[in-house]
Amino acid sequence: MASSAAILPDIFSAWFARKQWQLRDYQKQMLSDKDQHNTTLLIAPTGAGKTLSGFLPSLVELHEAGCESGGFKGLHTLYISPLKALTQDIHRNLLLPIEEMGLAITAETRTGDTPSHKRLRQRKKPPHILLTTPESLMLMLSYADADTLFGKLKRIIIDETHSLISNKRGDFLSLALARLSTLSPSMQRIGLSATVAFPETLGAWLAGSDTQAHVIRVNAGEKPNVTMLHSASRMPFGGFMARYAIDDIYAAIEAAKTTLVFVNTRAQSELLFQMLWEVNKSALPIALYHGSLSKEQRRKTESMMASGMLRAVVCTSALELGIDWGDVDKVIQVGAPKGVSRLLQRIGRANHRLDEPSEALLVPANRFEALECQAAIDAINRGELDGDAPQPGALDIIPQFILNCLCSRSEKPEALYHQCLAAAPYQSLDKDDFDKLWQFTVDGGSALNAYERYQRLVENEDGTFSPANRRVIQRHRQNIGTIVEAGRLKVKRIRRGNQGKIIGEVEEYFAQQLTPGDTFYFAGEVLKYEAIRDMQLHARPAKAKEPKIPSYAGGQMPLSTFLAEGVKNILSTPHSWRALPKQVREWLGLQKAFSALPQPGNVLVEQFPFRQAYYTLFYTFDGRKANQTLGMLLTRRMEKMGVKPLSFSVTDYGLSISAINPVTSEQLQRLFQPDILGDELEDWMLQAPMLKRSFRQVAVVSGLTEQRYHASTKTMKQVTFSTDLIYDTLREHDPDHVLLKVARADAERELLDLRRLANLLIRYVDKATLVNLEKVSPMAIPIVLNVRSEQIKGAGAQAIIEQADLYAEAETMLDEVRALLAVQQ
């Protein structure tokens, strides 16, 4: 290995020496090999100097260009981070070194918050290094001068690469990469990633189709020291808040210097924050941090953290990305971890010294979650990781990509098709699908659009296409952000009349649950919901003691099936229960006495009356996808059998179906019948709420409807209506519309394919044990209390209304009408 002196210019070595840092081996490797590989993926834990390593090759090149040829002119390197605000981290990793070494290199950030005059200047006179977000990059690619701006781009660095695989944001960025390579063919790609299960897959995503990445793996250092809380307080059987453990959590915070307390959802963070303050007898400075808070609030917390002023921060996954927060010496994960890799990444935030293990405490919210926590601990001790399998690229992104490119310059469909193929998730993009999506971008893709007013694109004489007018370009640019943030509403805190301040954002699904007067926590206070006006949620500070809405459920995060396996194994090895908290062992004993414990090679099916219905619980431990698909099939079959299903809810571990009638053993066998008739699932799918959900997302992402409404004029007031109406209309009147196919493909990402479903049923068909109980079992509680269940429209829903006896009036009046008719006829 060449010595540092040979690779690093003197000015750099001197700086390293002053800092008393050693150039690490992998950093040397990245420098010496920088021109040998087109794509390099660096996998390293936090604290390994990752970000600086990403910049070193560019810094060295720019410095050398400055010394030799009067300096590089133009944009040399792009740095992409998923975060909206690139702050302390960048300062430490880039601006400070440049300043301390006195390098003649310019580096600037550009995000949604950058003022327009600064953006304009950056376009005219770009800095050497530009730090930006995927959305801002897309916006810049839509400019007419994109080719000049990026024409000399030497390198692109993508941070937090692991967070981009198998989601729309990553798909979006992969297309941007393909576009950049077209504008600057010699551009190199560097990815910085946390430890992942399948680095090659990530490398393939980064490199693009038909190329390989050079993967550099840095040792993970010491395994973290992860323990589970054994609390003296009574653990509940269900529910998602760890209220019972609040004193323990507080004690842990007191005992440490600085703690990060992770929860799975924004709403949970708000509640936990409130609960901690209620027991904050030592007046410790504890802050709240999640993605829905306004940028001012987030910045404030970030800078307080950086100056060591906080003892704890309650946070969500918003904190997982990008920010490297100094002296954190403890991580607490409240609620089941939902995945090992993700957990490790969170724990990783706590440590900057690779040679010392990070300290983490898992706090299960209920006794069932304790099993998942234990499975995570076991997996970490064995060094096992989990990861998502790569999915083909989402199709609803394509129309936005097409429009984005055409805003910059006219192109032919074939040219853009080939650019898409160069992006790894789209390497198998069907030409026919592309053509249909192209047509959709032009005029909505509907069979009967003769009126030229609908056209967004026009064809030129040379066969290229351009946007139809300026308005199309403007609207597109205004809405670029919605591709990744589809489904959010700004929250306006009202004081007088309609005046107020925007204090953050909430998910649309959350807003839809609210009725005027409902209270909820946001940004640390209680607000009362008033109305949605102009696509903003208006709410007033209120004094309610208990917010009415349980504004959370098991969390919206994608879940790993890996841990489900682990839990199944724990259940089937009683001697492993020693590691579990005593209360959990008692609970398992209770389950065994009252019902039965899930056994390997067997599917436990429990049934009991609950809340005026019959609940059937299937403990499959096959993961969310399988359970979701099974739920759809079984409810369909139940409807046909006359069981009258009402709803179902799904976790990684099991499926719970509620119905008017109970299921018999004989019916159970029929439910698991492996022969799935082709159309059985098909027509149920089309009506399923799940498909409507997908369509809702697809509608916004593809540009069919818009999220940001500039609803100032009166005529625009009635612009919003549910995309469900569009979905139903298309299904009935234009069933070949491309967006229906796109929504279907989207929904199928969360489902098993038919073959796998059949295999599942084959496994179950003779191995299901039906246990009839008089009431809910201990193990069933967390599943049946799951707030988010999918409602079934059918005989069951109608039976409930029937039982409520709301039709009496109709019967009496019927006689009167009959009398009237008799007279008239």
């Binding site: 005029d443 007013r453 005026q612 109406l725 209304i801 009036e809 009237l820």
Partner: protein, 234 residues
């Protein structure tokens, strides 16, 4: 009229019809979103908002403009069932003044045919369509008065008679035995009756919105919710 005792009984049993009283008349409320007065052989429908899709897609969103076709098809099936002497379209039948210029020829034809099958078709003026487009059969008017009832698009203050209006596109949510139901609805007090919006692309205003609460005080209201294929008193 073509409805029969048998047809009626069947529908009430299947819960696709509800029957109630307003302003001393019997009202049949159809789960498909229309109201029918058997004593007068009048069918009431409201807020068709024809060509809303094509209007919105003019703003650079490629919405399908199939809404008119879908709306007319549903209306056609309903008219087949009732064959009323009179149809009152209670305003906002057309989304804007240029609706007809954008409407597909097939849909235009269908619309005219539909109107011509009815002896009296009344187009009440709405805020979106203060003038009836040219070439459309049927009669335009501001309001219709009968007995103590006045049919108009929007409510007027200080009105002594009973008003039947559209305009508000009411919808509601309710909970029965732990289960949530939501959808468009009919809502009325002794004085004001609000029709649901019939148009394919019409959304709704929650009945608990301030405006609705003022017009129809909560304690004096009756709601009929349309859910899936049924209608019930909620």
């Amino acid at each position: 009229m073509s409805i029969t005792d048998h047809w009626l009984t069947q529908r009430v049993k299947a819960r696709t019809l509800a029957i109630t009283k307003f302003s001393r008349h019997l009202w049949i409320l159809d789960a498909r979103g229309v109201a029918y007065l058997p004593a007068l052989d009048w069918l009431i429908v409201s807020d068709l908002h024809l060509e809303k899709g094509s209007y919105l897609s003019g703003f650079a969103n490629p919405l399908p403009n199939l809404d008119s076709r879908a709306t007319l098809e549903r209306l056609s099936r309903i008219l087949d069932d009732y064959r009323p002497e009179t149809v009152i379209s209670l305003g906002d039948s057309f989304h804007d003044r240029q609706s007809m210029s954008r409407m597909d020829d097939n849909d235009k034809q269908r619309l005219c045919e539909l109107v011509n099958t009815v002896s009296n078709w009344k187009w009440i003026e709405g805020n979106h369509d203060p003038q009836l487009p040219e070439g459309i059969p049927g009669e335009a008017c501001y309001e219709i008065v009968l007995d103590n009832m006045v049919f108009r698009h929007e409510p007027q203050k200080r009105e002594q008679r009973h008003q039947i209006i559209g305009h508000y596109h009411p919808k509601m949510r309710t909970q029965i035995a732990h289960r949530r139901y939501s959808g468009k609805c009919f809502v009325f007090t002794d004085d004001v009756f609000v029709m649901p919006a019939f148009g394919q692309f019409t959304g709704g205003l929650d009945v608990n919105d301030d405006v609705m609460k003022q017009l129809l005080p909560y304690s004096r209201r009756t709601h009929f919710l349309m859910y899936d294929t049924i209608i019930f008193k909620a």
